[in-house]
Symmetry: C2
Subunit: 890 residues, 2 copies
């Protein structure tokens, strides 16, 4: 016979915490506490298998369920010392859902079940509080009618309002017990008129009605959508928990409270919580009465004159203290607990792992490890890598009020407040006067860089996560919101309009680059701080992880920041960013607009020494660490002047007619630049560009090797390869330059030549490409764009529709799509290693800093991930977690 | 012992036509003719295995080769009745390469080998022509020195010019035998000064020198590039043919000629060719002397008074006639033959399958089948499907002179000549006056359609193979060259500039939409004609092919044309083209720029009846045939007005402020529209658009079903699917509309709902998508764009660099890339059919009309291909060929 029902309470339980799949999270923890001998109100759990059987069997219960429920009910009555439906000492119960995974608010609950016209009287007598009894009854009728009978709760709320109006009362609490009794009559009449029969007085019928409703709610629309979005299989089912009610509002010897076993904000090791005398659980949360401190120490420190639980109910407090310490030691984690004192008796209603700030998470994990509670691996698994962002960037004070007026893409994390400036020059000059400035542009271009430097943050109305603004801001560590399309920015009038709100230059706004929100006025921010625990935890992570962590960096500042954050090399140095510098953009443009090879070579000769110096600087900073340099990638038109003034300037420098330059620039126009003349295609059309870059790299390597007496081994990376033939064509030319430089410097140069794998075709042909390439770096940004056929810069708008309609969870540009992109990556790894077993494999797309994607990288066997400097700590922690998880699986 | 040398001549041969891999094409055919007892000058072939062994063995010959060559040489001398190097009756030989696959002009040849200071005298005596002997000797020295000794031929040409100047002569033929003797002295001196030793007088040394040079030329740069471009493995090697020289210039009883066994232009069954008395082969081709007709009938018909071979050498003619008839019957194909008559004796120098026009190819194939020479399958394999284009569009007269001034993409085939008009209105009004007009635009838009209709052809300076101009032109069957980027078109001055050439409105130009060329002035064109043989061959193809052939068509005219060409349904009806109609574009724009759902629905209500009528018309024309309708695909901004005037017009109609419309239009701007808010993404953001289209389709199906008493089964196709969730979301909505229409019309509707597979992710997830989709249609245009990461509209320029540098052969947008795109298609077929064994599979990209791609479609087991109307016959023939080839393989 299948066991469908598991009892708990009275110091014993049929199940425990390990039975989460069968009993659900809530049921398992109640059983666990009960099994530990803690004072849990007795009850029982209908298992998730009942739910599955119910749906498999045309919504019918298993035959033997009713008998098992009756038996469990008897046990509960015995343990509670009360009888369900009894006219003297009635037992009231709660009926709650409890699935394997938390699905907050998705399913139904019924409280105070077991009340009817008779038991309400008994409750009035036994509680000595008639108003309490009738208030409980009217609440039960409304809740039961809503959940079980399908009668809209607003009907009952209407009746309540009518009554208050009739009696000329303002608050619910103004209603007397007679008023409530009258309200119960109105409620019962409403039920009868709505469903044609009277409100059920048979408590067993009430119970089965509630059980059926909870199982039914597993398939309600909200729950179905929630499961689809969170990948929870319908086959898991929910459990149902039936538990004796206890009341903290039975007088001055009753109370209710919530507590954390350590401080959830700071992680400090002290008991932390609040309680109220003569109150129900929701009163503590609702904020109508101010809750009191649990400990005397906390009360004293806060200068609060209301007594603590420690002072009011010292015996209860000692009991609670013992329990919380046992629970924390038992679960080996900081617990969030709920308790009720009913007439001098303590009851534990819930325990679960408590939510905490990143700071607290680190402190708790490290201290528990030092206390011997956790292993280092467990400590590492306890901190969510993404939460570290809170420690690395200013964040909005969660308590601060905010008036959100628009939103764009969360292009670079952190929050910033400042006065609006609509031009880079304006931003720079105001910042020089000590003002905090936000630079607001339709989109940014290389000419705006000085203004971006000067500003606290950047806001654009156009452009995606890889727009100029976004990429530059991330590199600088400046908060940025990009592509906030609702903003109508008008440079002429120096205003921007959002709906009815007009914002002028100098007005203060706030942006949150972590959420993409744009807010009016100043919103308080919290500055980050790194505790000592941080370094400890990172050290443990480094010992455990297998993936190398590199960074995407171009400037010396970025490289230095990344090294401080623990980067072990550069995985992606995008050389095009070096071209945007004011000193060289003119030469770059000359090169692009040159009529012929000679013209291009002349311009490239001007760029070579500057580019060489870039690499000398980088190699010097990264001494001893690998540096992967991607050759020029973006389409040339990205470097071209946009305004007439710039064009005229270029014409005067080059001596060409502005008209001719404009024609040439128009010729370079592309419909889909993402799929255009870029990457290795530039190198194939104009080998002299890549040859100049290769020369700059190799000469720099030679210079620094001599200067430092250490061999610098640059990794030259060719972007956007789709075929082996492309790779070989360029590899030969780059190797030839290395040979020349080697001859000129009289020493042997060591270097690698590899490629990005960022097109589906490259992944498919990885086997033959690896015959020639020394390494692969997966460019999962472009791979995601091409596998999905979605432009990152254009997708923000319609992906929102996808989220709204439940078609897509998350953002494939943030977390790597395992089903599509992932299959191609795995295939490329397999084919690449098949050709060359020592092929070096890394990832340098934005996914390199995303924990879920890092777990994927570990699972397919990459050697390293590379991410922006500020995400390096996140990647270190995530890589350690991935290593632990993969070890657990194998 | 390996046989390295194969002899032929004297009525026998060691090998034959079936030994092409071993003997090369030329050697195998010489052996075959020889084996048939035909008069072939004797010789022998060094096999391709010698070449392979030579390179495998560090460029050394096999040990026993020399002995075998000596033996073969002896046989040849015997058969020729002359001795190599003999002072009385010297044998001269040619040394020629001959690979398995034809590699015209890539490798080296030496003629007249065996001449030296002694044998030249003997030749003078035996030929009785001293000048001939010395002319042969000086040509041999020059050729041998160039090919074998590596001395540039221009040096010898310089010496020749010097001598003529010295002697004050104008033509080479003015040189006397003494002059030539003097020239030989100069040549020999030049050789000695260049290489330090005298020109080799030892004929055996000459022979081995030439053999080495020919094998060496297998690895010259030209040959290596050619092989890479044509996928010829280096391991195939080349054979070397050594053959006795014969001379058609030994007097009035000598002659040389070329002939085709049937007319290569018309396919008519009569012997067709030219000859010259006392001449060498190159004289016939060079055009210095006018060649004479072979047959009396041809001479008479041409009104030529120079006698035919039939009249001059009747016995030779009868012998030749017997041989050509035997060769044609033997090879069962029209032959291109070369012959020489040396002093009254006929020698056959070559036979091979003759090149022919498409018209001739069809006529010959059909007639040979009727003659019992070929099976129907063989007849089908004899006609190149692409050549049919010549029969369906006007082509440039190959003899006409042309001044090419620019080139763009071959966007729609056929040639057209006309006066330039720079606007659609101009084009229309001039065409109405009877002028032939070419419409020249920077790019076209829906507003230009009337002008495109009126024009003979369309030329644009911007836009790719899928630009508006290209797509519309192909549908209309108008020639089009798109994206000719060198043109600087200036509407204001009504001129276009190409380099130094200025072209004004009204000037005449010619375009070739098959090659992409733009030419100055009028170039004669040839109008196509379809012979009876065409229908016969197509009928045979239809019996044999397994692939269905559908068409891509939107308008009734296209649908009708396609049916006439034999289409069996519509595989792709792009509904967006219907939106461009002048009558409805305003409503479409209203819909796009609407602020909310209500506004969109109001505009869609205006479009519905027009859209419904589109489908009523199509279903009526296509009665009984399947029609696949793709729901709206392009990004909405493609429909928006571009000029201020149009914007103002729209503002006045909608009552919205022009400024607001401009803002909304700007909001719709996309960086990469190809990867943007298009395809099913529109349907997900605005389900009402697809619902309107579904309603129009189902209502039209209901109307036509009732009207015709036949069930119309529309196939509704959702574009740009990347995941099953997208498909299901839209499928449910479309099915709901079908249910409503069904209820309204009171009858059951039959329909299919399927999807394009045009993104890598869709191919990867095909298994789960097929759980819901009734059919897949591979959109290989977009799949190629995303697999390669190349925008078709932007790639023309850089793909040219790829071709120039030997990195890519062909165009992946023209012929499906089997290695990349093909792997994904095959995988999607396998996964799709794995989920649903009766899944209907087709292809509707441009590849659907490309023979090589059609062969691929057959190999992966698709059900049908779909192509533009004018390519339907090509597809029918190609599908038949693919069916035959796949049968042969299995």
């Amino acid at each position: 016979m299948t066991k469908w029902v598991y009892s708990f309470g009275g110091g014993r339980a049929d199940g425990g915490a390990e039975d989460k799949n069968l009993l659900g999270g809530k049921g398992a923890n109640l059983a666990e506490m009960s099994g530990l001998g803690m004072p849990v109100p007795p009850g029982f759990t209908l298992t998730t298998e009942v739910c599955t059987a119910y749906y498999d069997n045309g919504e019918n219960y298993p035959n033997d369920l009713a008998d098992q429920v009756t038996a469990a009910m008897g046990d509960m009555e015995k343990a509670a010392g009360a009888k369900f439906g009894d006219q003297e000492n009635p037992l009231l119960v709660s009926v709650r859902s409890g699935a394997r995974a938390s699905m907050p608010g998705m399913m139904d609950t019924v409280l105070n079940l077991g009340l009817n016209d008779n038991t309400v009287q008994a409750l009035a007598r036994s509680s000595g509080n008639e108003r309490f009894a009738w208030d409980s009854y009217r609440r039960f009728i409304q809740m039961y009618s809503d959940v079980v009978l399908g009668i809209d709760h607003y009907k009952f709320e209407g009746l309540l309002e009518d009554l208050k109006e009739e009696k000329d009362l303002r608050l619910d609490t103004d209603l007397s017990s007679d008023d409530l009794r009258e309200l119960v009559d109105h409620f019962k009449a409403e039920v009868e008129s709505a469903i044609g029969v009277a409100f059920p007085q048979d408590v067993t019928a009430q119970l089965w009605g509630a059980i059926g409703a909870v199982f039914g709610s597993w398939q309600n629309a909200r729950a179905v959508t929630y499961r689809r979005l969170h990948d929870i299989p319908a086959s898991w089912g929910t459990a149902v928990n039936i538990q004796a009610m206890v009341f903290g509002n039975m007088g001055e010897d009753s109370a209710t409270g919530v507590a954390f076993t350590r401080d959830p904000s700071t992680g400090d090791k002290h008991f932390f919580g609040e309680y109220l005398i003569n109150a129900q659980g929701e009163d503590v949360v609702a904020g109508i009465r101010t809750p009191q401190h649990l400990t005397k120490a906390a009360r004293t420190e806060a200068g609060d004159d209301k007594p603590s639980l420690e002072e009011v109910m010292p015996a209860i407090f000692i009991e609670l203290e013992a329990i919380y310490q046992r629970l924390e030691a038992h679960y080996r984690d900081m617990q969030d607990i709920e308790f009720t004192v009913q007439r001098g008796t303590l009851y534990m209603l819930q325990t679960r792992s408590g939510k905490r700030t990143a700071e607290a998470a680190i402190k708790i994990a490290v201290e528990m490890t030092n206390e011997g509670l956790l292993s280092r691996e467990e400590a590492i698994l306890r901190v969510a890598p993404d939460s570290l962002d809170q420690l690395l960037h200013p964040t909005l004070d969660p308590k601060a009020e905010r008036q959100v007026i628009g939103h764009g893409l969360p292009a670079s994390p952190g929050a910033a407040t400042g006065k609006v400036a609509f031009s880079a020059d304006q931003a720079e000059s105001l910042a020089a006067q000590g003002e905090s400035i936000l630079l607001v542009r339709i989109e940014t271009s290389p000419e705006d860089i000085h203004g971006m430097h000067a500003a606290r943050g950047i806001l654009t109305s156009r452009g995606g996560m890889t727009s100029h603004a976004a990429v530059v801001a991330r590199g600088m560590g400046r908060p940025c919101v990009s592509g906030a399309g609702q903003l109508r920015i008008d440079y002429k009038s120096q205003t921007m309009q959002v709906g009815d709100i007009a914002i002028a230059a100098g007005d203060v706004i706030t942006i949150d680059g972590s959420s993409g929100e744009v807010m009016l006025g100043e919103v308080a921010t919290i500055q980050p701080k790194l505790s000592g625990g941080f370094a400890t935890l990172m050290g443990w992570a480094d010992e455990i992880r297998q993936l190398g962590i590199r960074t995407n960096a171009e400037t010396p500042a970025e490289a230095k920041a990344a090294i401080e954050f623990g980067a072990e090399g550069i995985g992606l140095c995008r050389t095009e960013h070096m071209f945007f510098d004011t000193n060289r953009i003119l030469a770059v443009r000359e090169m692009i607009l040159a009529e012929d090879l000679a013209g291009r070579q002349a311009a490239l000769a001007k760029i070579l020494p500057m580019q060489r110096q870039d690499f000398v600087d980088l190699f010097t900073i990264m001494t001893g660490l690998p540096v992967t340099i991607r050759l020029l990638d973006p389409p040339l038109h990205e470097f071209l002047p946009k305004s007439d003034d710039e064009l005229a300037q270029l014409a005067s420098v080059t001596g060409a007619a502005a008209e001719d330059l404009r024609f040439r620039a128009n010729q370079l126009h592309e419909y889909n630049p993402m799929l255009g003349h870029r990457g290795c295609r530039l190198g194939i059309s104009y080998p002299e560009i890549y040859e100049m870059q290769a020369r700059a790299i190799f000469e720099a390597a030679a210079i620094v090797s001599v200067g430092q007496g250490k061999t610098v081994v640059p990794e030259v990376m060719i972007p956007l390869i789709a075929s082996k033939a492309e790779f070989v064509f360029l590899q030969e030319r780059i190797a030839a330059v290395a040979g020349q430089v080697s001859a000129e410097h009289g020493g042997k140069l060591e270097y690698l030549i590899g490629t990005m794998i960022e097109l589906p075709r490259a992944a498919l042909r990885a086997g033959e490409i690896a015959e020639e390439a020394d390494f692969f770096s997966f460019g999962t940004n472009d791979l995601t764009q091409t596998v999905f056929g979605i432009s990152r810069d254009d997708s923000a708008g319609f992906l929102e529709d996808y989220h709204d309609k439940g078609i897509l969870e998350g953002d494939p540009f943030a977390t790597l799509d395992r089903d599509g992109v992932g299959e191609l990556v795995a295939l490329a790894v397999e084919r690449g290693r098949g050709s060359r077993s020592d092929l070096k494999l890394g990832i340098c797309g934005e996914h390199g800093g995303d924990p879920a994607s890092i777990a994927f990288c570990q699972s397919v066997g990459l050697d390293y991930v590379s991410c922006s400097p500020f995400r390096v700590p996140i990647a270190r922690l995530a890589a350690a977690q991935a290593a632990i998880s993969s070890r657990d699986k194998s």
